[in-house]
C-alpha cells in the first residue's frame, strides 16, 4: 500500500453524524441507541472483512468483543491504565489472538474456521466465569468513565463523539485495507486460491490476517460497549450475540463497508422491539439470514446500488438497450 486514500463517503458520513447528532436526538434513550449503532457498526465492518472479503464465516465475534471488553476493563481497573491506552492495547491484543488462532484453520477448508470460532464463542463466557479472581465471575466488572483531558465523559452524548471518532478512524483504515494490498490479496485468495498462491500470496496468512482484523474491530467495539454500559458480564458475550452480528453483515451486504453499517443500524434500531421475546428474535434473525442468503446474497446495499444504476440508465433512456 503506497498511498492512503481518503474516501469521500467516510468524510461526508463523519460530518453528517457529527452535526446531526446534537440537533435532533435529544432524549437520552435515542442517544444511547445511536451510540450502540456506532459500536455495532464498528464490529460489523470488521466482520464484513472476514466474511465478505476472506470468505471465512466467523461465529466468534462475540468472543473477540468480550476479550476486548474484559482486557480494557481489567487494565483500567487493576493497572490504572488510561482508557485511551487500554483501548488500542486491548484491540491489538485481541487482533493478535485472532490471527494466531486463525493460522491453522486458514490452511484448511472454511468449515474449520467456523467450527473453531464457534468453539471460541462457546468457551469464552465459560472461561470468564471460571477466572473469578480477575473477572469477578458472574457478577462482572464496572469500568469507570473515560476522561478526556481530565474531563470525565459521563453522558451518552459525550460518549457519542468518542465512538464516532474511533469509528471514523477505523472506517478510514478499513477502506484503505480493503482497497489496498490486503483487500486484493483476500479477494484473490477467495476467488482462486491456487492462482493467488501462484502470484506469491500466502493464502493461509492473508485469511488469518482477515480474522485478526475482524477480531481487532470486534475488540475495539467491545471496549466501547463496556465503557458505555459501565458494566461487563460474561452474559454479554454469548454465542447468540455472534448470530446477530452475522445477520447484520449478511442483511446489510457482506461486500461493502456501507452494507455492514446499514445492517448494524437496522438491527440495533429493531432489537428493542423484540427485546422481551428472545425466542422470536432468534427466529427472525435465523429466518432473515436464510432468506437474504437465498434471494439477495449481496444484501440490502446491493439492492440500493442496483436501483441507483437502473434509475441512472432509465434517466439516460438506455434501460432497454442495457437489457
Amino acid at each position: 500500500m503506497k498511498r492512503w486514500i481518503y474516501p469521500r463517503g467516510v468524510i461526508i458520513l463523519a460530518i453528517i453524524l457529527a452535526i446531526a447528532f446534537p440537533l435532533k436526538f435529544g432524549t437520552s434513550y435515542s442517544q444511547y441507541t445511536l451510540d450502540l449503532i456506532l459500536i455495532y457498526g464498528l464490529l460489523a465492518v470488521g466482520l464484513m472483512i472476514a466474511v465478505g472479503y476472506a470468505g471465512q464465516v466467523s461465529i466468534g465475534q462475540s468472543a473477540f468483543m468480550g476479550l476486548g471488553a474484559y482486557l480494557a476493563t481489567i487494565l483500567t481497573i487493576n493497572d490504572h491504565w488510561s482508557f485511551w491506552l487500554a483501548l488500542p492495547v486491548a484491540a491489538i491484543g485481541a487482533g493478535l489472538f485472532g490471527y494466531v488462532i486463525g493460522i491453522p484453520a486458514s490452511r484448511l477448508e472454511t468449515v474449520y474456521f467456523s467450527v473453531l470460532t464457534l468453539g471460541l464463542a462457546a468457551a469464552l463466557p465459560e472461561a470468564l466465569i471460571q477466572l473469578t479472581s480477575v473477572t469477578n465471575g458472574y457478577a462482572g466488572l464496572t469500568p469507570t468513565y473515560p476522561t478526556f483531558f481530565g474531563i470525565p465523559l459521563r453522558t451518552n452524548a459525550s460518549f457519542y463523539y468518542v465512538a464516532l471518532a474511533i469509528l471514523v478512524i477505523l472506517l478510514w483504515v478499513a477502506h484503505n485495507w480493503i482497497s489496498g494490498n490486503v483487500g486484493r490479496s483476500l479477494v484473490a485468495a477467495r476467488e482462486s486460491p491456487l492462482a493467488a498462491q501462484a502470484l506469491g500470496i500466502s493464502v493461509a496468512q492473508v485469511k488469518a490476517l482477515a480474522l485478526g482484523i475482524s477480531a481487532f474491530y470486534a475488540a475495539a467495539a467491545g471496549v466501547l460497549l463496556a465503557f458505555l454500559n459501565q458494566y461487563v458480564t460474561p452474559d454479554n458475550f454469548s454465542v447468540t450475540e455472534s448470530f446477530t452480528f452475522l445477520a447484520m453483515v449478511i442483511v446489510g451486504g457482506m461486500n461493502s463497508v456501507w452494507g455492514a453499517l446499514i445492517g448494524a443500524a437496522l438491527f440495533t434500531v429493531l432489537q428493542p422491539l423484540t427485546a422481551n421475546l428472545q425466542a422470536l428474535q432468534q427466529v427472525i434473525i435465523g429466518a432473515v439470514m436464510i432468506v437474504v442468503m437465498k434471494f439477495l446474497p449481496d444484501g440490502l446495499w446491493s439492492l440500493g446500488r442496483r436501483t441507483a444504476r437502473l434509475t441512472r440508465l432509465w434517466g439516460e433512456g438506455r434501460l432497454h438497450a442495457e437489457r
Partner: protein, 289 residues
C-alpha cells in the same frame, strides 16, 4: 476411574453418532450442517409431543420421532440446500444452516418454552455392575445402538448401491452424475440419514441434558470436535474422535471442573489443527486451499 471412562465412552458414542451424520453430509453434499443439533432437538420434541399430547405408546412415539427426523433431513436438503440444482457456494449453505439452527431453537422455545423438562420415559436402572463400576441401562442401550448403527452404516456404505452412490458423489459429484447417479436423490438420502443419526444421539442424551431447546448446543460443539479429529472426512477417525472427546469431557468434568468443557474442547480443536490438520487417521490428501 473406570466409571469415568465408562461414562466418557457412553457419551462419546453419542457424539460419534452425531459427528458421523455431519461428516457424511459434509463429504457427500459439501455442506457443514450447523443445524444438526437443532434438528435432532426437534425430533425429540416430536417424540415428546406424541407421548404426552397424543398418548401414543413409547415405541410408536420413538418410531414417529425417527421417521420425522428422516423427513426433516430430506426436507431441509430439498428446501434450503438443493445441491443438485446449481453448484453450491460453501459460505451460502453454511450461513443457511446457521440460520436454520437459530430458527429451530427459537421455534422450539416458542412452542414448548425454554425450561428443561424431564422426558416422560427413560431407561432406568442398572444393567450390570461389579465393584464400583456401574453400567446403567441407558448406557448399555447406548453401546448396543451405537454398535448396530455404526456397523450398519459401514455396511451400507460398503455393500449397497446407495452407499456406493454416496461414496461416488463424495469423490466427484459431476462424474457420479454422468454415471447415472441422481444427485438429488442421493443428496436427500444422505441428509435424511445424517439427521436420523443426530436424532438417535439426542434421544439417548435426554437423561443428561433434559428436554430443552438448547439441549444439543454442547453436543453440537463436541460432535464438531470429533469431526475435526476425524479430519472431516475419515469415518473411523470420526468415530474414534467422538470417543476421545467423550472421555476427555468426562475426565475434565470429574478431575478439573464441570464448567470448563467448552474451553477444553476449544483448546483441543486448536491443538489438533496445529498438529494433525488431516485428522487422527487421515492421510495427507487433504484439500490444502
Amino acid at each position: 476411574m473406570g466409571q469415568v471412562l465408562e461414562t466418557g465412552i457412553a457419551m462419546g458414542s453419542l457424539y460419534s453418532l452425531m459427528a458421523l451424520g455431519m461428516v457424511l453430509i459434509f463429504r457427500t453434499t459439501n455442506v457443514v450442517n450447523f443445524a444438526q443439533g437443532a434438528m435432532a432437538m426437534m425430533s425429540t420434541y416430536i417424540a415428546f409431543a406424541f407421548l404426552t399430547s397424543l398418548h401414543w405408546p413409547v415405541w410408536a412415539a420413538l418410531i414417529a420421532a425417527m421417521a420425522s427426523s428422516l423427513a426433516l433431513g430430506a426436507l431441509v436438503e430439498r428446501v434450503f440446500i438443493d445441491h443438485s440444482s446449481r453448484p453450491s457456494a460453501p459460505i451460502a449453505s453454511l450461513i443457511i444452516t446457521l440460520g436454520l439452527y437459530s430458527v429451530l431453537e427459537g421455534v422450539a422455545t416458542i412452542i414448548w418454552g425454554a425450561n428443561p423438562t424431564a422426558f416422560p420415559w427413560t431407561l432406568n436402572g442398572i444393567f450390570w455392575h461389579r465393584g464400583h463400576l456401574v453400567v446403567s441401562t441407558n448406557d448399555a442401550a447406548t453401546f448396543a445402538v451405537t454398535l448396530i448403527l455404526v456397523v450398519g452404516l459401514f455396511a451400507l456404505l460398503r455393500w449397497t448401491r446407495i452407499g456406493l452412490a454416496m461414496r461416488a458423489m463424495a469423490q466427484d459429484a459431476s462424474t457420479a452424475q454422468l454415471m447415472g447417479i441422481s444427485l438429488a436423490k442421493i443428496s436427500s438420502s444422505t441428509w435424511a440419514l445424517g439427521s436420523a443419526l443426530g436424532a438417535v444421539s439426542a434421544l439417548f442424551l435426554l437423561p443428561i441434558t433434559y428436554l430443552q431447546p438448547t439441549m444439543m448446543d454442547t453436543a453440537l460443539l463436541l460432535a464438531f470436535s470429533a469431526a475435526v479429529l476425524g479430519g472431516f472426512s475419515n469415518l473411523p477417525g470420526t468415530l474414534l474422535g467422538g470417543l476421545i472427546v467423550g472421555v476427555l469431557e468426562s475426565l475434565v468434568g470429574v478431575y478439573v471442573s464441570n464448567q470448563l468443557q467448552n474451553t477444553v474442547v476449544f483448546a483441543l480443536i486448536i491443538v489438533v489443527l496445529y498438529l494433525r490438520p488431516q485428522g487422527l487417521l487421515g492421510r495427507h490428501d487433504i484439500k490444502k486451499v
